[in-house]
Structure formats: C-alpha cells, structure tokens
Amino acid sequence: MRGARILVEALRCEGVEHIFGYPGGAVLHVYDEINRHEDRIKHYLVRHEQGALFAAAGYAQATGKTGVALVTSGPGGTNAVTGIANAFMDSIPVVVFTGQVPTHLIGNDAFQEADLTGITRSCTKHNYLVKHVEELAPTIKEAFYVASSGRPGPVLIDMPKDMTAQEAEFRYPETINMRSYKPTLQGHPGQVRRAVELMLRARRPVLYVGGGAIAAGAHEEVRRLAEKLNLPTTCTLMGLGTFPASHPLSLGMLGMHGGYWTNMAVDNSDLLISIGARFDDRVTGKLDQFARGAQIIHVDIDPSCISKNVKADVPVVGDARVVVQQMLAEVERQLDAGERIADRTAWFEQIQEWKRQHPFFCHDEGEVIKPQRVIEELHRLTGGRAIVSADVGQHQMWTAQLYGFENPRQWLNSGGLGAMGYGFPAAMGAAVARPGEQVVAVVGDGGFQMSFNELATIVEYDIPVKILIINNGYLGMVRQWQEQFYARNYSHSNIQVAPDFVKLAEAYGVRALRATQASEVSRVLAEGLEARGPVLMEMQVNREENVFPIVPAGAALKEMILG
C-alpha cells in the first residue's frame, strides 16, 4: 500500500482515535486516505495549525494519551512551531506529522519548503525525516514510544511527499527496543531509603509536586505519602490537581503568584521533597535565597533536571509513581523498625498563622465585576469538577489560585512557554477527548484574539466548549507589571479596541452572553454553563485589578508583594 495508507494503518495500530490537522499540497496523499477511514480515526479540521498543536496538547493533557497533529510542509510546519515548543516545555506527549517537499526537491528552496527538522530540533524531544517508505511504519512506532515514555514530549515526523505516494508492504513492529533510549523507572533503593529517613525526621517538611507527577499518574501515591507522613503539600502551576485543593494538607500553589503561606512554608522548610517538578525560576525566585534552610529531595525521571537549578541532597532518578510507591514501602519498613514521624504541630500552627495573616483577598466594589469572584463562582457552579483550560495572563493566575482543582488532568495551561492563544484550542482538544464533561476555557481578551479562529471548528464539530472571557480591555499581566515596575507607563498594553465579543461569537453561530455588572455574573455563568453546545460568556471586569501576591522577577520568594 502507499505511504499515506501506511500512516493511517499505523495510527490505528497506535489506537489513535482523533487527530487535529490542516491540509496542503505536501500532505494531499495523506488527506486522500484520511476521509476514507474516518469511521475509525476522526480528523478535526482546525482553522490554524497552531490550534491543531494546542488542541492535540489539550487532548493529551486531559487524558494522558498521545495527541496527534497533521500539517503540511513549509508554512503549515512553521505555524505549528509555537504549539510544538509548548508541548516541549510542558512535557506533553504529541506526535506531529508534517508534509515535506518531495525528496528530490529537498534543499532546492522548493515551493513551501522549510527545514522543519532543523527548525524544530531544539523544541522536540526527537524528530525524524523519512527517507524510505519502508521506514515509515517503524518510524511511527518509535515516535509514539519516544513521545509517551520517559519524560514525555513532542516528536515530529517530516514526510516528503513521495514517501506518502510510494508503495511498501505494511508491517507494524510489535515491540520496540532502542539501544540509545531506555528511561529509568525504578529509583535507586539507597536513595529512597535516605529520602524516607529525612522525611520521617523533618520538623518543617514541604512536599512540592509538579506536572511530572501527573504524567506518571502518581496522584494517588502522592496523596498516600502526604497523609502517611503528614506532609504539607504544594503543587506547581503545572501540578495543580495532583493533590486535592480541599485536602487539609494542601498548601495550594507556590511561586510567583503562589499563596503567602505557601511561599513562606517553602522558604522556612527544613526539607523540601520535590516530585516531578523542576525548580523553575517562576517557582524559586532568586535562587541563592531559595529555601536556604532546607535539604532537598528531588525525584525526577529526567536526570538533567536534577541539580540544574537547586542542588539536590538526595537525587532520585525514576518514574514519580514507581518511586513514590518505593517510598511508601520504605516508610512501612522504617516504621516497623521502630522509627517515628517527627512532631510537626508547631509547623502546622505556623503555616495556619501565615494563612490567617495573608489569605488571598478580593475587595468588592459594588457592581464592578471582580475577576476573582468570577472564578469563585465558576467553581461553585461547576462543583469544582470542570476541566478548565486557561490562556496566559492575569486570568490564568486567578484561575490557578482560586478554582481549587481536586483532580489531575482537570487543569490545562501553558506553563513553561506561557503561550497566549493556547487556552481555547486546548479546551477544544480536551472536549474532544472527554465527551460529556464540562470543559471551560478561561481566556483573556488578548489571548482570545490570538485563537478565536477556532470558533468555526467548535461550531463545525459541535464541540461543547464554554468560553469564559475575562475582559479587562488590557493585556492585563503586562499592564500590571507596567503599573508595579514601570511607573504606570502603560506602553502598548491597552487593547480596548477590540471586537464586540458577543457579536463575534454570534457571527460564527455560537451562543453568547455578557455580564457587565457584578449582580449579573451568577446568572450569566449559570445560563452559559447549562446551555447545550458551545457558548461564549464575556465578563467585563474591573480593568485595573492586580494579581496578588506577586514575587517580582528576580526577587526572593519572601520578598513577595502582598497587595
């Protein structure tokens, strides 16, 4: 069969049910097969390749399955790059198929030629250029394996057009064995033992959980570890939902916009246990001031993350779930051997005291809509169970702080790359992946204008995404920095010139609602969330609201500004 058909058959073998894509000359053989086999692999035609990658990412983040995107050569591939970089930064398993000019034209500056393997080398986990049609099936097998194993990430397969036209026998490899790629899953037993010794003895421990714990499916184990050892637990922006927000041991999110009590707990801890987190600069603030009194246990499947920013005292390379299971077993052993868990009453009292001193706050001002209240109301009306996908900006941080995520894969956002335009298409991917569940895209007026082309997509396929625009007429996060760090010089952050979002949605055939007063928020949200199919809800919020606390860039955690 021809290469294009091999691709479709290979996707079936991988259990792929949905792909997001956009056609063009170099992938027309593939598209010629795609709509003949749509009974088993459904293709969603996005309206921009970036949307295909964000949708594939949202699909993967909401399920743990590998997302798949298909785009054409040249501009198709370059349009996808932001989405690929996003998947790379947030370790999202995605396989991207790009078209390429025919083999004999490569290097010729041919029409719609771009060196896509070259361009994406530094933002993929790995990429391939298919040079013989016989290699196509084994390459796809390897790509799915690499994307989804170890530290997950995007893998790109560049397919010259002739590779999809030429014929070969279809044989899909059953197993895979790469001498150059063998992720370590099991933690070193000696390190696990040392880690548990420290965890038992610590008087002021903090468990610090990141997106890696979600990728590994370690949430149950993490909760058991926290409960067993009585560990206050904080999640990173990427890790929210790994540990239930309502749990008595939950400290919420740490870092630049983390809670005061959370950052103070980290700053004053004597032991920081990191599971699948990478000590990002948005988490640590000024490095040499970070958790200076703490010993560091760092569990990560990627050795290069360990001691990259903060030197680990007990490094453990391995899969978060496997390692935490090992830890739980070791805890039992040590408790049986007569070890005791140190008394932490004073530590919990101290944390409570910090929380009493400076909780998250929001000063209501009559009928002005406060964005924080919108998020709280969203939580209430969805019972805290919606899948929420945020764009990038202030609204993202309020959602992270206030929605209260109880489950992993419930919170989607672009954490590492911080790519505006992510929120809405990612929600679309999540809604495709988890039909029947409430999916809400919380977006800013700026970011939505980078992605609203996908309104046509959700209408075409009746994807029931609820879009909640936090409209402040500003690139709010930029404005906040300008207010706080640039003497209120609001240079190019005012975006009041914008479409009427309600009319815009209606132009696409999407139902739309708007609230301009605080008293309308509940009704609009309730009506929008209950309606069938896609709905857009616009909240015209207080224009100059700020996100607090905020750790200024480059400052230490404890230097956060409280508001």
Binding site: T117, G118, R121, S122, K125, H126, L129, K131, V146, G150, R151, M178, R179, S180, Y181, K182, P183, T184, H188, G190, Q191, I301, D302, P303, S304, I306, S307, K308, A312, P315, V317
Partner: protein, 181 residues
C-alpha cells in the same frame, strides 16, 4: 576546567547538528570536535572537548545523554586515558640554518616531514594538545605559513577500563549521570 567527552551515537541523519545545537542552545561551547565511524556499523564516535565549571559539565553530560539517539556518553577527564591531536604545518625552511633547525625539532618531537620544497616543508605531528601547542610555539619564530589542526581524539587506557568503581555507595554524579531519559 577542560573536559574530554566521548560519545557513541547512532549514525543517523542530523546527529551532528543535534549535538552542536544542544551546545549553542544552552550556551555551552565546544572547543574541538571529531567525528568518525566505529567498528560497529551504524554507530559513530564523537569526541569533543569543552570547558566549564562542574555544574556546567554535569549539565552538558546529562543533556547529551538525554538525546534520544545518543547511546553512550563518557567523560574521559577523570579516567586514565590517551589523547591525541594532529597538526599539519607549512613551515619556512630555506637552505641553511633554518632547514636544519626544523629537522631538529621534527626529530625531537617525533614529527614527520611529508612534503618538501626548496624553501618549505609540510610537517605532520601528533600528540596531546600541550605537545602540539609546544611544537607550534617552537616553530613560530622560524615562520609558519599555514596550519591545519584536528580536534582531540581520546581513548581510555586498558588498565582503567578494568578498574572497579570506588566504594559501594555510588556518588551523586554516578547516580544521576548513569541514566537516560
């Protein structure tokens, strides 16, 4: 500190830019780089020298190991190993004193004259980086017209490969370095 790192990689399309790109993207520098085949078909050896503090070197090694098609990364610096570079030099060698001086240096450094003309020689020399540099410095006063120098290639000494790792408790770097993602 200068480090010599030896890599075994799959002999695949685009390996060199993957390695080079890793260094440039993360702001590390490659001082020298040599690539060649190994006895096993499909596997290439790259030997590179770089410099940086311990933290940087640790990151370089970990990041190299993380590349999906890199099979093995060895930092030879701390093991007993042999390093060689080769240099070819066109040097002034007019009839008379200079010609004899070049002969003497060639003899002392166990170099080789591989091409002769009435007023110059092409000299070939191999040795470790310091020896090569010393040779070059001594020839400079006589006059070097052109120089071509390879990067370093290196090999672990046989005795060293038989040594057992010291102690039972693995060191931190072994623990986090001996793994791939």
């Amino acid at each position: 500190m200068r480090h010599t790192i030896s890599l075994l990689v799959e002999d695949e399309y685009g390996m060199l830019p993957r390695i080079a790109g890793l260094f440039s993207a993360r702001g590390y520098s490659i001082d020298t780089l040599c690539v060649g085949p190994t006895l096993e078909e499909g596997i290439s050896r790259m030997t590179l020298t770089t410099h940086g503090n311990d933290k940087i070197i640790e990151q370089i090694i970990k990041q190299l190991r993380k590349l999906v098609k890199v099979i093995k990364v060895t930092d030879l610096t701390e093991r007993a190993h042999v390093e060689r570079e080769m240099v070819m030099l066109t040097v002034n060698a007019e009839m008379g004193a200079h010609r004899q001086e070049v002969f003497n240096l060639v003899e002392i450094f166990r170099a080789k004259i591989v091409d002769v003309s009435p007023d110059s020689f092409i000299v070939e020399m191999t040795g470790n980086a310091e020896k090569v540099q010393a040779f070059i410095e001594l020839l400079k006063p006589i006059g070097i017209r052109e120089m071509v120098r390879t990067g370093t290639v290196a090999m672990t000494r046989v005795a060293a490969t038989r040594q057992q790792p010291k102690g039972n408790e693995e060191t931190f770097s072994q623990l986090t370095l001996n793994e791939k993602v």
